[in-house]
C-alpha cells in the first residue's frame, strides 16, 4: 500500500476533528475540570426547594464538594427528597446544616452545607436532619406586606 499526499490530508482532517472534540470536552465541557470519581450519597428533606435542579452544585465554604443527583417528592411526608453526591475526600459531621441558597439575586440555586460540631461523620445513605428551604421571593414580599398591614396605624 503506497503512501500518497491524499492520505496525509485525510489524516490531518481526522486528527483535527478529534482534536476539536477533545478540546470541546476538556476546555469547554466539564469533563476535565471536576471529575467526581469517588462519591457517597446523602439525602436531605426540604419543605420547599424553590428552583433547585438536578446537577446543581453543593458548596461548603464556597468550595464545590458535590452535585445534586436526584430530586423527588416523598409522598410519605410531602417534602422534597434531595439526593446529593458528595466527594469522598470531604467528610461532614452528622449535624451538618443544609441550606438552599441563591448565587446572586437572580442566579441559580445551590445547596450550602454548614458543618456542625458532631464528632461522628455522615455516612453513605444517611439523611441530613437540619435543613432550611429556599427563600422564595414572593413569600418574603408577602410576609413583608402582611407585617405592614398588621402594624397599628400611627
Amino acid at each position: 500500500m503506497e503512501r500518497t499526499t491524499l492520505d496525509l490530508w485525510v489524516g490531518i482532517f481526522v486528527v483535527g476533528g478529534i482534536a476539536a472534540l477533545v478540546m470541546l470536552a476538556m476546555k469547554v465541557g466539564n469533563l476535565g475540570t471536576y471529575n467526581m470519581s469517588d462519591t457517597y450519597q446523602v439525602n436531605a428533606y426540604f419543605t420547599n426547594i424553590g428552583g433547585l435542579k438536578p446537577k446543581a452544585s453543593i458548596k461548603s465554604a464556597g468550595v464545590l464538594v458535590g452535585r445534586v443527583t436526584d430530586i423527588t417528592l416523598d409522598t410519605g411526608r410531602y417534602e422534597a427528597k434531595v439526593v446529593m453526591s458528595l466527594d469522598r475526600r470531604y467528610q461532614f459531621p452528622r449535624d451538618t446544616f443544609a441550606n438552599i441558597l441563591t448565587s446572586g439575586l437572580l442566579g441559580e440555586q445551590y445547596i450550602g452545607l454548614m458543618p456542625g460540631g458532631d464528632s461522628e461523620m455522615l455516612k453513605s445513605g444517611e439523611t441530613i436532619k437540619k435543613t432550611q428551604s429556599a427563600a422564595v421571593l414572593e413569600d418574603l414580599i408577602g410576609k413583608f406586606i402582611y407585617n405592614k398591614v398588621d402594624e397599628p396605624a400611627k
Binding site: 491524499l6 490530508w9 482532517f13 476533528g17 476539536a20 472534540l21 466539564n30 476535565g32 438536578p54
Partner: protein
C-alpha cells in the same frame, strides 16, 4: 375544470413524494447492505473523505470563526445590560455546541459537499458510466454510493466539532481580547455550564444524524437524476433545498427529544 385539475396536480405531487421516500428508503437499505465491501476497500472511503471532508475544512473553520465572533458581539451587547457579561462564554459555547455547530456545519456541508456528490453521480449516470459498471458486473452502489455515504457520515461530526471549536475561539477573541470580558470567568463559567454528555455528546449525535441524512439525500438525488443536463441541475438544486429543510426540521425534533426540560 381548473379546480379539479389543481386537486389532481396536488394529489400527483403527494403520491410522487411518498413514492420517492419509499425509493430513498430502499436505496438507504441497499447502501447499508453493500457497505461491507467498501469497508474492505477502505482506500475508496479515504479518497471520498478527502473530497468531502478535507475540501470542506476551510469553509467550515472560517464560517465557524465568524459565527462565533458575531455571537460574542451580540451576546455581549445583550448580557451587559443585565451586568452579566461574564456569562458570555456560557452563551457562546452552549449556542455553538448544542445548535449552531451541528446545524450550520450541516447546512454548509449540504451546499458544499452534498451538491458536488449529486452532480458527480448524476453526471456519471448521464454519461452512462453507471450502466457500464453494471455491464462489467460491478455493483455501482457498492463501488460509488457506499464509499461516499460513509465518507459523509464520518466527516460530518468531525466538521461540526471543528466548527464549534473555531466558533468558541471566535467568541473568545471578540469577547475577551477585543471587548475585555474577564478571561477567567469566560472559561470557568463555560466549563461549569457545559456538560459533556448532555451538551457535547448530544451535539455530536445531532451532527451524525445530519451527516447521514444529508449524504443520503445527495446520493439518492444523484442516483435518481434524469440523465440529462437539465435533470442533473435540477437534482443538484433539490439536494440543497431538501437537505437544508431536512436539517432544520430534524434539528427541531432532536432538540425537543434531547434538551426537554431540565
Amino acid at each position: 375544470m381548473p379546480a379539479a385539475n389543481t386537486i389532481r396536480i396536488i394529489g400527483h405531487r403527494a403520491i410522487n413524494a411518498v413514492w420517492r421516500i419509499g425509493m430513498a428508503s430502499r436505496f438507504f437499505v441497499l447502501t447499508l447492505l453493500y457497505s461491507g465491501s467498501s469497508f474492505r476497500r477502505f482506500r475508496l472511503i479515504i479518497k471520498e473523505l478527502f473530497s468531502t471532508g478535507v475540501m470542506s475544512l476551510i469553509i467550515i473553520i472560517v464560517a465557524g470563526l465568524f459565527v462565533g465572533m458575531v455571537l460574542g458581539l451580540q451576546g455581549y451587547e445583550t448580557l451587559q445590560r443585565y451586568g452579566s457579561e461574564s456569562a458570555l462564554g456560557v452563551m457562546v459555547a452552549l449556542g455553538l455546541v448544542r445548535e449552531l455547530g451541528p446545524v450550520v456545519a450541516a447546512l454548509l456541508f449540504a451546499s458544499r459537499a452534498g451538491s458536488a456528490m449529486t452532480a458527480e453521480i448524476g453526471l456519471m449516470k448521464a454519461t452512462e458510466q453507471i450502466s457500464a459498471m453494471e455491464m462489467m458486473a460491478v455493483n455501482p452502489i457498492a463501488r460509488i454510493v457506499a464509499p461516499r455515504f460513509w465518507a459523509g457520515v464520518i466527516s460530518m461530526p468531525l466538521l461540526a466539532a471543528m466548527f464549534s471549536a473555531a466558533g468558541i475561539f471566535g467568541g473568545y477573541f471578540v469577547g475577551v481580547v477585543q471587548i475585555g470580558v474577564d478571561e477567567g470567568s469566560f472559561w470557568s463559567q463555560m466549563q461549569a455550564a457545559v456538560d459533556f454528555r448532555e451538551d457535547i455528546l448530544n451535539g455530536v449525535i445531532k451532527s451524525f444524524v445530519f451527516g447521514t441524512v444529508v449524504t443520503l439525500i445527495a446520493l439518492f438525488e444523484g442516483y435518481d437524476a434524469p440523465p440529462t443536463a437539465e435533470g442533473v441541475s435540477g437534482a443538484t438544486t433539490r439536494t440543497v433545498v431538501t437537505s437544508s429543510l431536512a436539517i432544520l426540521m430534524l434539528d427541531f425534533v432532536l432538540t425537543a427529544i434531547m434538551f426537554r426540560g431540565n
